[in-house]
Protein backbone atom coordinates (compact mmCIF):
# COMPACT_ATOMS: atom_id res chain seq x y z
CA UNK A 1 0.00 0.00 0.00
CA UNK A 2 1.36 3.40 -0.90
CA UNK A 3 0.22 4.78 2.42
CA UNK A 4 2.17 2.20 4.39
CA UNK A 5 5.28 3.05 2.45
CA UNK A 6 4.89 6.72 3.21
CA UNK A 7 4.28 6.01 6.89
CA UNK A 8 7.55 4.11 7.02
CA UNK A 9 9.33 7.00 5.37
CA UNK A 10 8.10 9.47 8.00
CA UNK A 11 10.36 12.49 8.00
CA UNK A 12 9.52 13.75 11.51
CA UNK A 13 11.49 12.24 14.36
CA UNK A 14 12.42 12.82 17.97
CA UNK A 15 15.43 14.78 16.68
CA UNK A 16 13.42 17.11 14.44
CA UNK A 17 10.88 17.57 17.21
CA UNK A 18 13.71 18.55 19.56
CA UNK A 19 15.14 21.03 17.04
CA UNK A 20 11.73 22.61 16.56
CA UNK A 21 11.17 22.87 20.31
CA UNK A 22 14.63 24.41 20.83
CA UNK A 23 14.11 26.98 18.10
CA UNK A 24 10.76 28.02 19.56
CA UNK A 25 12.15 28.18 23.11
CA UNK A 26 15.07 30.27 21.83
CA UNK A 27 12.63 32.57 20.02
CA UNK A 28 10.52 32.97 23.15
CA UNK A 29 13.60 33.99 25.11
CA UNK A 30 14.54 36.57 22.50
CA UNK A 31 10.94 37.76 22.38
CA UNK A 32 10.96 38.51 26.10
CA UNK A 33 14.39 40.14 25.76
CA UNK A 34 12.98 42.32 23.00
CA UNK A 35 10.06 43.42 25.17
CA UNK A 36 12.34 44.10 28.15
CA UNK A 37 14.77 46.15 26.10
CA UNK A 38 11.93 48.00 24.40
CA UNK A 39 10.34 48.90 27.73
CA UNK A 40 13.69 50.17 29.03
CA UNK A 41 14.12 52.33 25.89
CA UNK A 42 10.59 53.62 26.22
CA UNK A 43 10.59 54.31 29.95
CA UNK A 44 14.20 55.39 30.52
CA UNK A 45 15.52 56.70 27.21
CA UNK A 46 18.00 59.02 28.88
CA UNK A 47 19.69 56.25 30.79
CA UNK A 48 19.81 54.04 27.71
CA UNK A 49 21.19 56.92 25.61
CA UNK A 50 23.91 57.52 28.16
CA UNK A 51 24.76 53.81 28.32
CA UNK A 52 25.30 53.54 24.57
CA UNK A 53 26.88 56.93 24.01
CA UNK A 54 23.95 58.53 22.22
CA UNK A 55 23.06 61.40 24.54
CA UNK A 56 20.47 63.73 23.06
CA UNK A 57 18.85 61.08 20.84
CA UNK A 58 16.13 60.13 23.32
CA UNK A 59 13.27 60.45 20.80
CA UNK A 60 14.98 58.04 18.45
CA UNK A 61 15.58 55.61 21.30
CA UNK A 62 11.91 55.79 22.29
CA UNK A 63 10.93 54.98 18.71
CA UNK A 64 13.33 52.06 18.65
CA UNK A 65 11.81 50.93 21.96
CA UNK A 66 8.40 50.75 20.33
CA UNK A 67 9.90 48.73 17.50
CA UNK A 68 11.46 46.29 19.97
CA UNK A 69 8.17 45.85 21.82
CA UNK A 70 6.28 45.24 18.58
CA UNK A 71 8.80 42.61 17.52
CA UNK A 72 8.65 40.96 20.93
CA UNK A 73 4.86 40.77 20.90
CA UNK A 74 4.98 39.41 17.37
CA UNK A 75 7.46 36.70 18.34
CA UNK A 76 5.61 35.66 21.48
CA UNK A 77 2.13 35.91 20.03
CA UNK A 78 2.63 34.15 16.73
CA UNK A 79 2.66 30.42 16.07
CA UNK A 80 4.97 31.17 13.16
CA UNK A 81 7.51 33.55 14.70
CA UNK A 82 10.07 33.24 11.89
CA UNK A 83 9.13 36.46 10.03
CA UNK A 84 9.04 38.36 13.33
CA UNK A 85 12.49 37.07 14.18
CA UNK A 86 13.80 38.25 10.81
CA UNK A 87 12.17 41.61 11.57
CA UNK A 88 14.12 41.70 14.81
CA UNK A 89 17.33 40.91 12.95
CA UNK A 90 16.49 43.76 10.56
CA UNK A 91 16.04 46.02 13.57
CA UNK A 92 19.48 44.94 14.80
CA UNK A 93 20.96 46.06 11.48
CA UNK A 94 19.24 49.42 11.89
CA UNK A 95 20.63 49.70 15.43
CA UNK A 96 24.13 48.94 14.16
CA UNK A 97 23.79 51.51 11.37
CA UNK A 98 22.57 54.12 13.85
CA UNK A 99 25.49 53.44 16.17
CA UNK A 100 27.87 53.44 13.22
CA UNK A 101 26.71 56.90 12.24
CA UNK A 102 27.35 57.95 15.83
CA UNK A 103 31.03 56.84 15.78
CA UNK A 104 32.50 59.95 14.04
CA UNK A 105 30.51 62.17 16.44
CA UNK A 106 31.40 60.25 19.55
CA UNK A 107 33.75 62.88 21.06
CA UNK A 108 35.41 60.84 23.73
CA UNK A 109 32.49 58.36 23.84
CA UNK A 110 34.06 56.06 21.31
CA UNK A 111 34.61 53.28 23.81
CA UNK A 112 31.00 53.43 24.95
CA UNK A 113 29.64 53.42 21.38
CA UNK A 114 32.00 50.61 20.39
CA UNK A 115 30.90 48.53 23.36
CA UNK A 116 27.26 49.13 22.41
CA UNK A 117 27.98 48.09 18.82
CA UNK A 118 29.70 44.92 20.03
CA UNK A 119 26.69 44.09 22.22
CA UNK A 120 24.26 44.68 19.36
CA UNK A 121 26.42 42.60 17.02
CA UNK A 122 26.32 39.73 19.52
CA UNK A 123 22.54 39.88 19.76
CA UNK A 124 22.34 40.09 15.96
CA UNK A 125 24.22 36.82 15.66
CA UNK A 126 21.71 35.18 18.03
CA UNK A 127 18.73 36.69 16.22
CA UNK A 128 19.93 35.56 12.80
CA UNK A 129 20.72 32.07 14.11
CA UNK A 130 17.25 31.80 15.62
CA UNK A 131 15.54 33.22 12.53
CA UNK A 132 17.38 30.72 10.32
CA UNK A 133 16.36 27.83 12.60
CA UNK A 134 12.73 28.96 12.47
CA UNK A 135 12.87 29.28 8.69
CA UNK A 136 14.25 25.75 8.46
CA UNK A 137 11.36 24.58 10.65
CA UNK A 138 8.80 26.30 8.42
CA UNK A 139 10.34 24.64 5.36
CA UNK A 140 10.22 21.30 7.12
CA UNK A 141 6.58 21.89 8.02
CA UNK A 142 5.73 22.51 4.39
CA UNK A 143 7.45 19.25 3.50
CA UNK A 144 5.20 17.49 6.02
CA UNK A 145 2.16 18.97 4.31
CA UNK A 146 3.36 17.49 1.04
CA UNK A 147 4.10 14.13 2.64
CA UNK A 148 0.85 13.84 4.60
CA UNK A 149 -1.11 14.64 1.47
CA UNK A 150 -0.11 11.14 0.31
CA UNK A 151 -1.28 9.37 3.47
CA UNK A 152 -4.78 8.20 2.67
CA UNK A 153 -4.82 5.06 4.80
CA UNK A 154 -6.83 3.37 2.06
CA UNK A 155 -5.77 0.67 -0.35
CA UNK A 156 -7.50 2.45 -3.23
CA UNK A 157 -8.20 6.11 -4.04
CA UNK A 158 -10.69 7.57 -1.54
CA UNK A 159 -13.42 7.96 -4.13
CA UNK A 160 -13.36 4.21 -4.70
CA UNK A 161 -13.59 3.61 -0.95
CA UNK A 162 -16.69 5.76 -0.46
CA UNK A 163 -19.38 3.50 0.95
CA UNK A 164 -17.11 0.44 0.97
CA UNK A 165 -18.38 -0.55 4.42
CA UNK A 166 -22.08 -0.19 3.57
CA UNK A 167 -22.26 -3.65 2.06
CA UNK A 168 -21.17 -5.43 5.22
CA UNK A 169 -22.02 -3.09 8.05
CA UNK A 170 -25.29 -1.87 9.50
CA UNK A 171 -25.43 0.62 12.35
CA UNK A 172 -26.67 -1.17 15.46
CA UNK A 173 -30.27 -0.42 16.36
CA UNK A 174 -29.35 1.74 19.32
CA UNK A 175 -27.23 3.99 17.12
CA UNK A 176 -29.67 4.46 14.30
CA UNK A 177 -31.49 7.75 14.15
CA UNK A 178 -35.20 7.42 14.94
CA UNK A 179 -37.20 7.08 11.75
CA UNK A 180 -38.86 10.45 12.24
CA UNK A 181 -35.43 12.08 12.27
CA UNK A 182 -34.18 10.34 9.14
CA UNK A 183 -35.88 12.43 6.46
CA UNK A 184 -32.80 12.54 4.29
CA UNK A 185 -32.00 8.85 3.92
CA UNK A 186 -34.64 8.03 1.37
CA UNK A 187 -34.09 11.11 -0.73
CA UNK A 188 -35.04 14.72 -0.42
CA UNK A 189 -38.61 15.42 0.56
CA UNK A 190 -39.67 11.82 0.68
CA UNK A 191 -40.51 11.77 4.38
CA UNK A 192 -39.34 9.38 7.03
CA UNK A 193 -37.37 6.45 5.72
Amino acid sequence: MDMQASANQAVPSAATARQTRSAHAFARGLGWFSIGLGLAELVAPKAVARAIGMDGREDLIRAYGLREIAAGIGILGSEHPGPWMWARAGGDALDLATLGVQVPRSDGNLETVSAAMAAVAGVTVLDVACARALTREETRRQSYVDEYRRRSGFSKPPEQMRGAARSDFKAPADMQAPAALRPYGAGEGSGPA
Binding site: V11, A17, G153, F154, M161, R162, A171, L181
Partner: protein
Protein backbone atom coordinates in the same frame (compact mmCIF):
# COMPACT_ATOMS: atom_id res chain seq x y z
CA UNK B 1 10.65 -0.76 34.97
CA UNK B 2 10.46 2.56 33.14
CA UNK B 3 7.14 4.37 32.93
CA UNK B 4 5.82 7.83 32.12
CA UNK B 5 4.49 9.28 35.36
CA UNK B 6 2.37 12.34 36.06
CA UNK B 7 3.87 14.69 38.63
CA UNK B 8 1.64 17.71 38.16
CA UNK B 9 0.53 20.11 35.49
CA UNK B 10 2.97 20.00 32.54
CA UNK B 11 5.27 17.73 34.52
CA UNK B 12 5.57 14.24 33.12
CA UNK B 13 8.70 12.22 33.77
CA UNK B 14 10.14 8.91 32.67
CA UNK B 15 10.56 7.27 36.08
CA UNK B 16 11.76 3.95 37.37
CA UNK B 17 8.84 2.30 39.18
CA UNK B 18 8.10 -1.19 40.58
CA UNK B 19 7.07 -3.84 38.05
CA UNK B 20 3.36 -4.68 38.05
CA UNK B 21 2.16 -7.92 39.64
CA UNK B 22 -0.85 -10.16 39.13
CA UNK B 23 -3.40 -9.02 41.71
CA UNK B 24 -6.58 -10.78 40.65
CA UNK B 25 -7.20 -14.16 38.99
CA UNK B 26 -8.46 -12.58 35.77
CA UNK B 27 -5.40 -10.30 35.39
CA UNK B 28 -2.61 -10.47 32.85
CA UNK B 29 0.75 -8.77 32.72
CA UNK B 30 1.63 -7.34 29.30
CA UNK B 31 5.07 -6.42 28.04
CA UNK B 32 4.29 -3.23 26.15
CA UNK B 33 5.79 -3.20 22.65
CA UNK B 34 4.03 -0.02 21.47
CA UNK B 35 2.03 2.69 23.13
CA UNK B 36 0.79 6.09 22.03
CA UNK B 37 0.02 9.52 23.37
CA UNK B 38 -3.68 10.27 22.99
CA UNK B 39 -5.16 13.73 22.59
CA UNK B 40 -7.08 13.09 25.82
CA UNK B 41 -3.75 12.52 27.63
CA UNK B 42 -3.08 16.18 26.92
CA UNK B 43 -6.01 17.12 29.19
CA UNK B 44 -4.08 15.42 32.01
CA UNK B 45 -0.81 17.04 30.93
CA UNK B 46 -2.44 20.47 30.91
CA UNK B 47 -4.11 19.85 34.28
CA UNK B 48 -7.70 20.15 33.10
CA UNK B 49 -8.88 16.77 34.38
CA UNK B 50 -9.31 16.37 38.13
CA UNK B 51 -8.34 13.25 40.02
CA UNK B 52 -4.68 12.73 39.11
CA UNK B 53 -2.15 11.92 41.81
CA UNK B 54 1.60 12.37 41.99
CA UNK B 55 3.32 9.39 40.37
CA UNK B 56 0.34 8.02 38.42
CA UNK B 57 1.43 6.05 35.36
CA UNK B 58 -0.11 7.45 32.19
CA UNK B 59 -1.30 5.89 28.98
CA UNK B 60 -4.37 4.14 27.67
CA UNK B 61 -3.32 3.27 24.11
CA UNK B 62 -1.00 0.29 24.20
CA UNK B 63 -0.36 -3.24 23.01
CA UNK B 64 2.16 -5.94 23.61
CA UNK B 65 2.92 -9.50 24.53
CA UNK B 66 1.33 -11.46 27.37
CA UNK B 67 4.00 -12.29 29.96
CA UNK B 68 1.89 -13.73 32.75
CA UNK B 69 -1.76 -14.60 33.32
CA UNK B 70 -3.78 -15.01 36.49
CA UNK B 71 -5.19 -18.37 37.52
CA UNK B 72 -8.70 -17.42 36.49
CA UNK B 73 -7.83 -16.17 33.02
CA UNK B 74 -8.60 -18.83 30.42
CA UNK B 75 -8.63 -16.56 27.40
CA UNK B 76 -5.00 -15.50 27.18
CA UNK B 77 -1.79 -17.45 27.30
CA UNK B 78 1.80 -16.37 27.68
CA UNK B 79 3.18 -15.16 24.37
CA UNK B 80 -0.13 -13.95 22.94
CA UNK B 81 0.11 -10.63 21.13
CA UNK B 82 -2.73 -8.35 22.18
CA UNK B 83 -4.12 -4.85 21.81
CA UNK B 84 -5.73 -3.63 25.02
CA UNK B 85 -8.82 -1.39 24.78
CA UNK B 86 -8.62 1.73 26.92
CA UNK B 87 -11.91 0.89 28.65
CA UNK B 88 -11.68 -1.84 31.28
CA UNK B 89 -14.74 -4.05 31.03
CA UNK B 90 -16.09 -6.96 33.05
CA UNK B 91 -18.20 -8.43 30.27
CA UNK B 92 -20.86 -9.51 32.75
CA UNK B 93 -22.74 -6.49 34.08
CA UNK B 94 -25.97 -5.31 32.48
CA UNK B 95 -24.22 -2.53 30.55
CA UNK B 96 -21.52 -4.84 29.18
CA UNK B 97 -24.14 -7.36 28.12
CA UNK B 98 -25.87 -4.57 26.19
CA UNK B 99 -22.60 -3.62 24.51
CA UNK B 100 -22.31 -0.38 26.47
CA UNK B 101 -18.79 -1.25 27.52
CA UNK B 102 -17.61 2.26 28.31
CA UNK B 103 -20.15 2.46 31.11
CA UNK B 104 -19.33 -0.93 32.63
CA UNK B 105 -20.73 -0.92 36.15
CA UNK B 106 -18.07 -3.01 37.84
CA UNK B 107 -14.58 -2.03 36.79
CA UNK B 108 -14.22 1.31 38.53
CA UNK B 109 -13.05 0.65 42.09
CA UNK B 110 -13.52 4.33 42.88
CA UNK B 111 -17.23 4.15 42.12
CA UNK B 112 -18.17 6.51 44.94
CA UNK B 113 -15.91 9.24 43.62
CA UNK B 114 -17.27 8.83 40.08
CA UNK B 115 -20.86 8.74 41.38
CA UNK B 116 -20.29 12.12 42.97
CA UNK B 117 -18.71 13.62 39.86
CA UNK B 118 -20.94 12.13 37.16
CA UNK B 119 -24.04 10.97 39.01
CA UNK B 120 -23.20 7.36 38.21
CA UNK B 121 -19.91 5.63 37.60
CA UNK B 122 -18.49 4.77 34.21
CA UNK B 123 -15.99 2.06 33.31
CA UNK B 124 -12.49 1.99 34.70
CA UNK B 125 -9.90 3.40 32.32
CA UNK B 126 -6.17 2.85 32.09
CA UNK B 127 -4.01 5.75 33.21
CA UNK B 128 -6.81 8.26 33.33
CA UNK B 129 -7.37 9.75 36.79
CA UNK B 130 -8.64 8.20 39.99
CA UNK B 131 -12.17 9.13 38.96
CA UNK B 132 -11.97 6.21 36.54
CA UNK B 133 -10.23 3.81 38.85
CA UNK B 134 -6.67 5.05 39.18
CA UNK B 135 -5.40 2.10 37.12
CA UNK B 136 -1.76 2.26 36.09
CA UNK B 137 -1.48 3.09 32.41
CA UNK B 138 0.39 1.54 29.53
CA UNK B 139 3.05 4.14 28.78
CA UNK B 140 5.40 1.77 30.51
CA UNK B 141 7.52 -1.29 29.89
CA UNK B 142 4.91 -3.51 31.55
CA UNK B 143 1.31 -3.08 32.59
CA UNK B 144 -1.21 -5.04 34.62
CA UNK B 145 -4.42 -5.58 32.68
CA UNK B 146 -7.41 -6.31 34.92
CA UNK B 147 -10.33 -8.34 33.55
CA UNK B 148 -7.90 -9.46 30.88
CA UNK B 149 -10.15 -12.36 29.93
CA UNK B 150 -12.60 -9.87 28.37
CA UNK B 151 -11.03 -6.75 26.86
CA UNK B 152 -7.73 -7.59 25.13
CA UNK B 153 -7.91 -8.32 21.42
CA UNK B 154 -5.62 -11.08 20.13
CA UNK B 155 -3.66 -10.02 17.08
CA UNK B 156 -2.83 -12.50 14.33
CA UNK B 157 0.62 -12.70 12.76
CA UNK B 158 1.48 -10.57 9.80
CA UNK B 159 0.29 -7.21 11.04
CA UNK B 160 2.67 -4.58 12.40
CA UNK B 161 2.11 -2.86 15.74
CA UNK B 162 1.37 0.40 13.93
CA UNK B 163 -1.39 -1.25 11.90
CA UNK B 164 -3.28 -2.56 14.94
CA UNK B 165 -2.27 -0.40 17.93
CA UNK B 166 -5.06 2.09 17.34
CA UNK B 167 -7.72 -0.61 17.68
CA UNK B 168 -7.41 0.12 21.39
CA UNK B 169 -8.85 3.62 21.13
CA UNK B 170 -8.70 6.13 18.31
CA UNK B 171 -9.77 3.94 15.40
CA UNK B 172 -12.89 2.58 17.17
CA UNK B 173 -13.48 6.08 18.55
CA UNK B 174 -13.51 7.62 15.09
CA UNK B 175 -15.57 4.69 13.81
CA UNK B 176 -18.17 4.94 16.60
CA UNK B 177 -18.36 8.69 16.05
CA UNK B 178 -19.33 8.04 12.44
CA UNK B 179 -21.55 5.01 13.17
CA UNK B 180 -23.64 6.86 15.72
CA UNK B 181 -24.33 9.49 13.03
CA UNK B 182 -26.23 6.76 11.15
CA UNK B 183 -24.75 8.10 7.91
CA UNK B 184 -26.91 8.06 4.81
CA UNK B 185 -25.61 8.36 1.23
CA UNK B 186 -27.10 11.85 0.97
CA UNK B 187 -25.38 13.15 4.10
CA UNK B 188 -22.74 15.78 4.49
CA UNK B 189 -20.67 14.96 7.58
CA UNK B 190 -18.75 17.87 9.08
CA UNK B 191 -15.93 16.96 11.46
CA UNK B 192 -14.30 19.50 13.74
CA UNK B 193 -10.67 18.67 14.49
CA UNK B 194 -8.17 16.94 12.20
CA UNK B 195 -6.26 15.27 15.00
CA UNK B 196 -6.01 11.47 15.12
CA UNK B 197 -9.66 10.88 16.08
CA UNK B 198 -10.83 13.35 13.43
CA UNK B 199 -8.69 11.55 10.83
CA UNK B 200 -10.29 8.20 11.69
CA UNK B 201 -13.77 9.71 11.91
CA UNK B 202 -13.32 11.19 8.42
CA UNK B 203 -12.19 7.88 6.92
CA UNK B 204 -14.97 6.02 8.74
CA UNK B 205 -17.58 8.47 7.44
CA UNK B 206 -16.27 7.93 3.92
CA UNK B 207 -16.34 4.13 4.28
CA UNK B 208 -19.88 4.40 5.61
CA UNK B 209 -20.88 6.24 2.46
CA UNK B 210 -21.26 9.93 3.29
CA UNK B 211 -21.82 12.08 0.22
CA UNK B 212 -19.37 14.69 1.52
CA UNK B 213 -16.96 14.60 4.42
CA UNK B 214 -15.72 18.00 5.57
CA UNK B 215 -12.89 18.43 8.08
CA UNK B 216 -12.32 21.69 9.96
CA UNK B 217 -8.96 22.60 11.50
CA UNK B 218 -6.30 25.29 11.25
CA UNK B 219 -3.11 23.28 10.71
CA UNK B 220 -2.20 22.76 7.06
CA UNK B 221 -0.44 19.43 7.63
CA UNK B 222 -3.44 17.98 9.45
CA UNK B 223 -5.83 19.24 6.80
CA UNK B 224 -3.55 17.75 4.14
CA UNK B 225 -3.83 14.34 5.83
CA UNK B 226 -7.62 14.69 6.04
CA UNK B 227 -7.75 15.63 2.37
CA UNK B 228 -5.69 12.53 1.56
CA UNK B 229 -8.49 10.49 3.12
CA UNK B 230 -11.10 12.04 0.84
CA UNK B 231 -12.25 14.94 3.02
CA UNK B 232 -12.90 18.53 2.00
CA UNK B 233 -10.69 20.72 4.22
CA UNK B 234 -11.74 23.97 5.85
CA UNK B 235 -9.04 26.06 7.50
CA UNK B 236 -10.97 28.11 10.04
CA UNK B 237 -8.19 30.66 10.25
CA UNK B 238 -8.50 31.38 6.55
CA UNK B 239 -12.22 31.12 5.84
CA UNK B 240 -15.57 31.26 7.60
CA UNK B 241 -16.72 27.81 8.70
CA UNK B 242 -20.38 28.82 8.56
CA UNK B 243 -20.14 30.31 5.09
CA UNK B 244 -18.11 27.44 3.65
CA UNK B 245 -20.41 24.78 5.11
CA UNK B 246 -23.34 26.76 3.75
CA UNK B 247 -21.77 26.73 0.28
CA UNK B 248 -21.11 23.01 0.44
CA UNK B 249 -24.65 22.13 1.51
CA UNK B 250 -26.72 24.53 -0.55
CA UNK B 251 -27.33 26.64 2.56
CA UNK B 252 -28.98 23.81 4.52
CA UNK B 253 -26.10 22.83 6.78
CA UNK B 254 -24.47 19.44 7.31
CA UNK B 255 -26.84 16.66 8.36
CA UNK B 256 -24.23 15.14 10.68
CA UNK B 257 -21.63 16.95 12.81
CA UNK B 258 -18.78 15.34 14.73
CA UNK B 259 -16.84 17.06 17.53
CA UNK B 260 -13.43 15.43 17.69
CA UNK B 261 -11.90 18.36 19.55
CA UNK B 262 -13.34 18.30 23.06
CA UNK B 263 -12.60 20.49 26.02
CA UNK B 264 -9.48 22.30 24.81
CA UNK B 265 -10.71 23.93 21.61
CA UNK B 266 -8.08 26.27 20.20
CA UNK B 267 -8.97 29.91 20.60
CA UNK B 268 -10.42 31.34 17.45
CA UNK B 269 -10.99 35.02 16.86
CA UNK B 270 -14.55 34.59 18.12
CA UNK B 271 -15.68 36.26 21.31
CA UNK B 272 -16.80 33.00 22.90
CA UNK B 273 -13.25 31.60 22.65
CA UNK B 274 -11.87 34.47 24.71
CA UNK B 275 -14.75 34.10 27.15
CA UNK B 276 -13.99 30.38 27.63
CA UNK B 277 -10.27 30.98 28.02
CA UNK B 278 -10.89 33.55 30.72
CA UNK B 279 -13.43 31.43 32.60
CA UNK B 280 -11.27 28.32 32.36
CA UNK B 281 -8.28 30.25 33.69
CA UNK B 282 -10.37 31.38 36.66
CA UNK B 283 -11.60 27.81 37.20
CA UNK B 284 -15.19 28.91 36.57
CA UNK B 285 -15.60 26.54 33.64
CA UNK B 286 -13.87 23.27 32.83
CA UNK B 287 -14.51 23.28 29.08
CA UNK B 288 -13.88 25.46 26.04
CA UNK B 289 -16.93 24.36 24.07
CA UNK B 290 -16.64 26.57 20.97
CA UNK B 291 -17.04 23.52 18.71
CA UNK B 292 -20.24 22.43 20.44
CA UNK B 293 -21.76 25.88 19.97
CA UNK B 294 -20.75 26.02 16.31
CA UNK B 295 -22.08 22.52 15.61
CA UNK B 296 -25.45 23.28 17.19
CA UNK B 297 -25.71 26.47 15.16
CA UNK B 298 -24.65 25.06 11.81
CA UNK B 299 -26.25 21.60 11.86
CA UNK B 300 -29.24 21.01 9.63
CA UNK B 301 -32.50 20.71 11.58
CA UNK B 302 -33.27 17.11 12.59
CA UNK B 303 -29.56 16.36 12.20
CA UNK B 304 -27.22 14.55 14.54
CA UNK B 305 -24.35 15.75 16.68
CA UNK B 306 -21.81 13.07 17.52
CA UNK B 307 -19.34 13.94 20.27
CA UNK B 308 -16.31 11.69 20.73
CA UNK B 309 -14.27 14.68 21.94
CA UNK B 310 -13.56 14.44 25.66
CA UNK B 311 -15.26 16.81 28.10
CA UNK B 312 -14.68 16.69 31.83
CA UNK B 313 -17.11 18.88 33.73
CA UNK B 314 -19.29 21.89 33.05
CA UNK B 315 -19.66 24.01 29.94
CA UNK B 316 -21.15 27.49 29.69
CA UNK B 317 -23.28 29.25 27.11
CA UNK B 318 -24.44 26.17 25.28
CA UNK B 319 -27.17 27.34 22.87
CA UNK B 320 -29.83 24.97 24.10
CA UNK B 321 -32.60 26.87 22.36
CA UNK B 322 -31.32 26.10 18.87
CA UNK B 323 -30.48 22.55 19.94
CA UNK B 324 -34.05 21.97 21.11
CA UNK B 325 -35.87 23.88 18.41
CA UNK B 326 -33.93 22.25 15.60
CA UNK B 327 -34.67 18.81 17.01
CA UNK B 328 -31.06 17.73 16.97
CA UNK B 329 -30.01 14.31 18.20
CA UNK B 330 -26.95 14.31 20.45
CA UNK B 331 -24.88 11.14 20.69
CA UNK B 332 -21.80 10.98 22.80
CA UNK B 333 -19.86 8.84 25.26
CA UNK B 334 -16.56 7.14 25.65
CA UNK B 335 -16.07 4.46 23.04
CA UNK B 336 -17.49 0.98 23.46
CA UNK B 337 -14.23 -0.32 22.04
CA UNK B 338 -14.92 -4.05 22.17
CA UNK B 339 -18.10 -3.54 20.21
CA UNK B 340 -16.08 -2.66 17.13
CA UNK B 341 -12.68 -4.31 17.41
CA UNK B 342 -13.42 -7.61 15.62
CA UNK B 343 -14.99 -5.87 12.65
CA UNK B 344 -12.26 -3.24 12.40
CA UNK B 345 -9.49 -5.84 12.74
CA UNK B 346 -11.09 -7.68 9.84
CA UNK B 347 -11.09 -4.50 7.77
CA UNK B 348 -7.40 -4.00 8.52
CA UNK B 349 -6.58 -7.61 7.62
CA UNK B 350 -8.53 -7.32 4.37
CA UNK B 351 -6.57 -4.19 3.50
CA UNK B 352 -9.57 -1.87 3.46
CA UNK B 353 -7.74 0.52 5.75
CA UNK B 354 -4.27 0.70 7.26
CA UNK B 355 -4.32 2.83 10.43
CA UNK B 356 -0.55 3.35 10.39
CA UNK B 357 -1.08 6.32 8.07
CA UNK B 358 -1.58 8.53 11.12
CA UNK B 359 1.79 7.85 12.80
CA UNK B 360 4.13 10.81 12.48
CA UNK B 361 6.65 10.26 15.30
CA UNK B 362 8.12 7.03 16.64
CA UNK B 363 10.30 7.44 19.73
CA UNK B 364 11.55 5.62 22.80
CA UNK B 365 9.76 5.93 26.13
CA UNK B 366 12.49 8.23 27.44
CA UNK B 367 11.54 10.80 24.79
CA UNK B 368 7.91 10.69 25.96
CA UNK B 369 7.91 13.78 28.21
CA UNK B 370 9.34 15.89 25.39
CA UNK B 371 6.88 14.46 22.89
CA UNK B 372 3.94 15.38 25.13
CA UNK B 373 4.98 19.00 24.64
CA UNK B 374 5.57 18.60 20.91
CA UNK B 375 2.16 16.94 20.48
CA UNK B 376 0.43 19.51 22.69
CA UNK B 377 1.99 22.40 20.78
CA UNK B 378 1.40 20.67 17.43
CA UNK B 379 5.01 21.27 16.49
CA UNK B 380 7.14 19.46 13.93
CA UNK B 381 4.08 18.22 12.03
CA UNK B 382 3.14 16.08 15.01
CA UNK B 383 -0.16 14.22 14.64
CA UNK B 384 0.42 10.89 16.36
CA UNK B 385 3.27 9.79 18.59
CA UNK B 386 4.03 6.10 19.03
CA UNK B 387 6.46 5.11 21.77
CA UNK B 388 8.45 1.90 21.96
CA UNK B 389 9.08 1.02 25.62
CA UNK B 390 11.33 -1.89 24.63
CA UNK B 391 13.42 0.44 22.43
CA UNK B 392 13.17 1.82 18.90
CA UNK B 393 14.59 -0.66 16.39
Amino acid sequence: MKALCWHGKKDIRCDTVPDPQIEEPRDAIIKVTSCAICGSDLHLFDGFMPGMEHGDILGHEFMGEVMEVGSGNHKLKVGDRVVVPFTIVCGECEQCRRGNYSVCERTNPNKEMADKAFGHTTAGLFGYTHLTGGYAGGQAEYVRVPYADVGPVKIPDGLSDEQVLFLGDIFPTGWQAAVQCDIQPTDTVAIWGAGPVGQFAARSALLLGAKQVVVIDRLPERLAMAEAGGAIPINFEEESVLERLGELTGGRGPEKCIDSVGMEAHATRSIDSFYDRAKQAMMLETERPHVLREMIYVCRPAGTLSIPGVYGGVADKIPFGPLMNKGLTVRTGQTHVNRWTDDLLRRIREGQIDPSFVVTHTVGLEDGPEMYRTFRDKEDGCIKVVMKPQGVH
